[in-house]
């Protein structure tokens, strides 16, 4: 869920959160959202620590704002307050560039529980099931405080989930053991030790120790003796599976490697598989672990390339993009019935969004393409809103939109998702996404809810929002950061259609934003997208997202060099998402235990 900031409608929330110095006040009161809102010095040089510039040459810290940019209004009356150490990750002073903050404190690194989807996928793969287990929806939901569902922060086993696992294990093991054909698919032999060795390795993602084998042989024998067993072998199999499905070594990704040492091949295989395919390592990948292939960067790269070619990787990248940009909100997008749009439009928009990022990933494109491409996906009804003919008639097809709509953020899925039920653009929400998810510019906590700004017959959406967010405690965030980014899309209405006027008044899309390179002006969305495509900040943000997702944890200052390296690859070399992933998984950070974080 995107947190929306709409001051004037949620004054109390932001009055506390945004604060606002005298200088903030001065700027806020003169800023209508179309003027430059920040200083150009980038704040306190001391705040631009050494970590903001690394050998890769990337500048993503507050000291990287570059030279002076022509100003359209007088500079602030007072010097901005530099961020203190206590402010890290909260906010820079109003109008200052906001550096990428890596202030995560990941806590669980030796034992990270599988997400529910990983649990489901792993069981299906381990047990060779073609259909879903039917138990995924029965698991007590996780409540992750972080952007990505695989983040280690909340993946724990409380009593309710324990019971869920138990029930699922009992049901699945009995069903499987009663299906002789399925059993044969799982293991062709008829000996207990062979079964335990082969299937146990899949569940533990490593060979079982002799002690573990012995333990499971005892369990197998116990199961064989149960009176209800159809035969000794299936009885043993059933109980072994029931226990394996509840075993901590299955439920957790367990890394035993001492801090600072390279992960074992099996541990690398597990990281790779869950990152790229969201499932357990295949037998083939475990064999690469066993033969030492995964002990080298080249071996890891080769294994990763193979995984990236699988459909599971595409599905996982859908998950990545969906969680990055909160595509789950499509499910609750309630378009105004008066718009007479087809009820299926929600699904069409969601599928079009995913198809866009499918193309990015599968076509070996990177962030620039996300921001600049004129390729889009649309169904009939969507094509109509674009003012184009639909080329096929069924499903979402690829279209070319032209120069007025560069990149994903000028396309219908983004624009309609961030509207008030399609009736009016939600400019603040649009700005929040660009600020938070494209630039990773951390601002204070937002108001809990957003509601449409009041309507006035004689005013544009832009001027209304500017007025509503003019209070000092709001303007420090809105006028400096959020509104200008959102207003760049003012030539798109709530349904994402292009418009030249709003309420009969010509729309204004120009603005400026305090990038870390300096405050830069843009005339509208195309220029903003072009600025973002060259922005160190945007590429650093992109690198941060994929690194967080890949490492399944928040990032700490120690991760800065890796993020900078990947950001440089993205910006300087125009590296594709696929290439960024390969660089990530072959990095020492991915393959080594980096301290007891």
């Amino acid at each position: 869920m995107i947190e929306l900031r709409l001051c004037g409608l949620a004054l109390l929330s932001l009055a506390t959160a945004c604060g606002g110095s005298a200088s903030d006040l001065a700027r806020a009161q003169t800023d209508d959202g179309t003027q430059r809102a920040g200083g150009i010095d980038g704040g306190d040089p001391a705040a631009g620590s050494a970590e903001t510039r690394d050998p890769s040459g990337m500048n993503i810290g507050p000291d990287a704002s570059g030279g002076e940019v022509p100003s359209q209004q007088p500079p602030p009356a007072a010097e901005p307050t530099p961020p203190s150490a206590d402010d890290a990750g909260v906010a820079a002073p109003s109008g200052d560039p906001i550096p990428l903050v890596l202030d995560g404190e990941p806590a669980h690194h030796h034992y990270v529980r599988l997400t529910h989807e990983q649990w489901e996928n792993s069981i299906r793969d381990n047990l060779r099931l073609e259909a879903p287990t039917g138990w995924l929806a029965e698991l007590t939901p996780d409540t992750s405080p972080r952007k990505y569902s695989n983040d280690e922060a909340r993946l724990e086993v409380g009593p309710t989930l324990y019971s869920d696992y138990e029930r699922a294990a009992e049901a699945l093991s009995r069903t499987l053991a009663a299906d002789s054909a399925r059993l044969e698919t799982l293991y062709r032999g008829s000996d207990a030790r062979g079964f335990i060795t082969e299937v146990g390795r899949r569940f533990y993602r490593r060979p079982l120790t002799e002690a573990e084998l012995s333990r499971f042989e005892h369990i197998f024998a116990t199961g064989s003796e149960l009176a209800s067993a159809p035969d000794e072998f299936s009885g043993g199999v059933s109980l072994v599976l029931e226990v394996l499905l509840q075993a901590p070594h299955f439920l957790y990704r367990i890394e035993s490697t001492p801090d600072g040492e390279p992960l074992s091949g099996y541990e690398v295989a597990t990281r790779l598989a869950y990152f790229i395919t969201n499932s357990t390592p295949s037998d083939a990948l475990l064999e690469r672990a066993e033969d030492g292939t995964l002990n080298t960067a080249e071996g890891v790269r080769a294994a990763a390339e193979a995984l990236l070619d699988t459909p599971r990787a595409s599905a996982q990248m859908r998950r990545f993009h969906g969680e990055t940009f909160s595509f789950d909100a499509f499910a609750t997008l309630a378009l105004d019935p008066a718009s007479n749009l087809e009820p299926s439009l929600n699904q069409d928009l969601e599928e079009a969004a995913y198809s866009f990022f499918d193309r990015i990933f599968e076509g070996s494109f990177g962030l620039r393409e996300v921001l600049l491409t004129d390729a889009a996906f649309a169904t009939d009804s969507m094509a109509m809103l674009y003012g184009l003919d639909h080329p096929t008639g069924t499903g979402a097809a690829q279209l070319t939109l032209g120069p007025e709509r560069p990149g994903f953020f000028t396309q219908l899925p983004f624009l309609m998702l961030h509207s008030f039920n399609g009736t009016r653009p939600d400019s603040v929400a649009r700005g929040v996404v660009i600020n938070d998810d494209v630039l990773c510019a951390a601002l204070p906590p937002a108001a809990d809810e957003s509601s449409p700004p009041p309507e006035r017959a004689d005013a544009t959406n832009r001027s209304i929002i500017s007025d509503e967010t003019a209070a000092p405690e709001c303007a420090s965030c809105h006028h400096a950061y959020l509104n200008p980014l959102g207003f760049a899309f003012e030539n798109f209405d709530g349904l994402g259609r292009q418009r030249a006027v709003d309420n009969g008044i010509p729309v204004q899309t120009d603005g400026s934003y305090p990038f870390i390179e300096g405050t830069l002006d843009f005339a509208g969305a195309p220029e903003l997208m072009a600025l973002l495509a060259e922005s160190e900040q945007a590429h650093a943000c992109f690198a941060r997202h994929i690194t967080e997702f890949g490492l399944a944890r928040s990032l700490s200052p120690e991760d800065r060099p890796l993020v900078n390296t990947l950001a440089a690859a993205s910006r300087v070399e125009d590296a594709s998402l696929r290439d960024i992933i390969l660089r990530l998984v072959t990095s020492p950070e991915f393959r080594t235990r980096r301290g007891n974080l």
């Binding site: 806590a107 669980h108 690194h109 030796h110 034992y111 529980r113 029965e138 007590t140 939901p141 409540t143 724990e156 086993v157 409380g158 009593p159 309710t160 989930l161 324990y162 019971s163 138990e166 029930r167 294990a169 009992e170 333990r215 369990i219 116990t222 199961g223 149960l226 009176a227 209800s228 109980l239 029931e242 226990v243 509840q246 075993a247 901590p248 070594h249 367990i254 035993s256 001492p258 801090d259 007891n596 974080l597």
Partner: protein, 460 residues
């Protein structure tokens, strides 16, 4: 005020003291040892159980429900009445939004009692004589769930002043079915139906197998978790996560191993001394909760011994003069007056002390409910049952039937969703939908009351 000594008398009474106090009353003690600790029903029979509890005088809505809506995680810190059910979260679903169909004249207590489990309107000339126009859910279910389609067990706790009295279970013609308020009578009747071998199915190997299987898993999980905990070099957070997992395991393990009567027909789950003593005081003021708890014990016993699979328990009728001994009721007001917030059977006031007393009574009632549920849990019944707790009215002062306090415990064999505070609305959903949904979850495809639409969100 009732003295502490008197309050605790029932719980403290031993069989010996009761016999002395009975002064020659001819109540013969059953030969308890004749009931062996054996399973009464074969797991392969896949029995399902249903127990419906009706209480009176409404609840204080603002202080009743869990604070959080959605997934139930930990009620232990919940200061509302719902917090009394901490520890059972994974078995419970709080259902908000249900209401009675239509309105009719007369006492809301009697009408609510009628509609509570019939899901239909009321009939009858006078308010306190309201009757149903169709059967209550227990009567609907009994032919499907009960051994030999026997009539459901009908229990009572309270004074029975003669004004409303029992009004919860109704036969197919909508006529009131009498409820037994004396736990000892119930106990004797049940013992008389326990087969000589305890009803045990000698071929009931599945129960013992279930225990063997679960123990195999628990043993391995425990050993692995302890090994992982003992590793050097892991951080505090990792350690705490393993400890949480281990703690969760212990909770499951406790259910498995510390309950000697799991899935068995055994009188060891019964507080027999108190049951015997209850014969003397079950209609005395001040014991309504203790008697209710004993009746819950007996219902669980009846289920585990395969005597009954369906039962109801009415706790008071709202206008019977019940006085609760809670800290804010030093004035000794009747519960009916407390619920009206004024010492009147008809007017409505806003007495703050009465409000506080009502809040305390709600908590006390759910504490009773919890203790009774533990007996169901010990018998291994919760994953085969639904136990529902509700009230004849939703809110005391208003007498409203909107947003009834409904709590369902147990998953009906895996078909009813649990671990949830479900709040689709603040009212307006016919309570018959919830009743029909419960019947459906129990495998009975019958409409209960006026509206047969299923609440599919609550079904697995």
């Amino acid at each position: 005020m009732m003295s502490t000594t008197k309050r605790n008398a029932l719980r403290m009474a031993s069989r010996r003291t009761f016999l002395a106090g009975a002064g020659g009353i001819a109540i013969g003690l059953p030969f308890l040892e004749s009931v062996p600790d054996r399973s009464a029903w074969a797991q392969s029979e896949n029995p399902r159980f249903a127990f419906f509890i009706g209480t009176a005088c409404g609840v204080v809505q603002d202080n009743f429900w869990p604070v959080e809506v959605g997934q139930l995680t930990d009620l232990s810190s919940d200061t509302n009445a719902a917090g009394a059910l901490a520890g059972l979260e994974r078995w419970i679903t709080f259902v908000q939004g249900t209401s009675y169909p239509g309105t009719s004249n007369g006492s809301s207590h009697a009408r609510g009692g009628v509609s509570m489990y019939t899901g239909g309107p009321t009939d009858g000339a006078g308010g306190h004589t309201a009757v149903a126009v169709g059967p209550s859910i227990d009567v609907v279910l009994a032919p499907y769930l009960n051994p030999d389609a026997a009539a459901p067990l009908t229990l009572y706790s309270g004074l029975k002043s003669g004004w409303i009295d029992e009004r919860l279970s109704f036969d197919v013609d909508g006529q009131i079915r009498p409820a037994e308020g004396n736990p000892f009578e119930v106990y004797e009747a049940l013992l008389g139906q326990v087969p000589a071998d305890g009803g045990a199915a000698s071929t009931d190997v599945n129960l013992s197998e279930l225990l063997v299987r679960r123990k195999s898993a628990i043993d391995l999980v425990r050993d692995d978790l302890q090994e992982l905990l003992g590793r050097s070099g892991i951080g505090q957070a990792d350690r705490e996560r393993m400890e949480l997992h281990l703690s969760s395991l212990r909770e499951i393990e406790t259910e498995l191993t510390d309950a000697p009567v799991v899935g068995t027909c055994s009188e060891s789950s019964l507080d027999v001394d108190a049951i015997v003593a209850s014969a003397e005081i079950f209609r005395s003021n001040g014991y309504i909760e203790q008697v209710a708890e004993l009746q819950m014990q007996l219902a669980a016993f009846a289920f585990a011994c395969n005597i009954q699979h369906v039962a109801t328990l009415q706790i008071g009728d709202g206008e019977d003069g019940t006085v609760y001994d809670v800290p804010s009721n030093d004035r000794g007001w009747r519960f009916h007056h407390i619920s009206h917030r004024i010492q009147s059977d008809s007017a409505t006031g806003d007495d703050p002390l009465a409000l506080q007393a009502h809040i305390e009574i709600d908590r006390l009632r759910l504490e009773t409910f919890r203790r009774g549920l533990v007996k169901f849990q010990e018998h291994g019944l919760l994953d085969r049952s639904v136990v529902m707790w509700t009230n004849s009215i939703a809110d005391g002062p208003s007498g409203s039937g909107n947003n009834l306090p409904s709590i369902v415990v147990g998953n009906a064999g895996g078909t009813f969703r649990t671990g949830l505070h479900y709040q689709p609305s603040q009212g307006g959903i016919p309570n018959s939908r919830l009743l029909t949904t419960l019947a459906f979850a129990l495998g009975v495809n019958e409409t209960v009351g006026v509206d047969g639409e299923l609440m599919t969100d609550l079904l697995v």
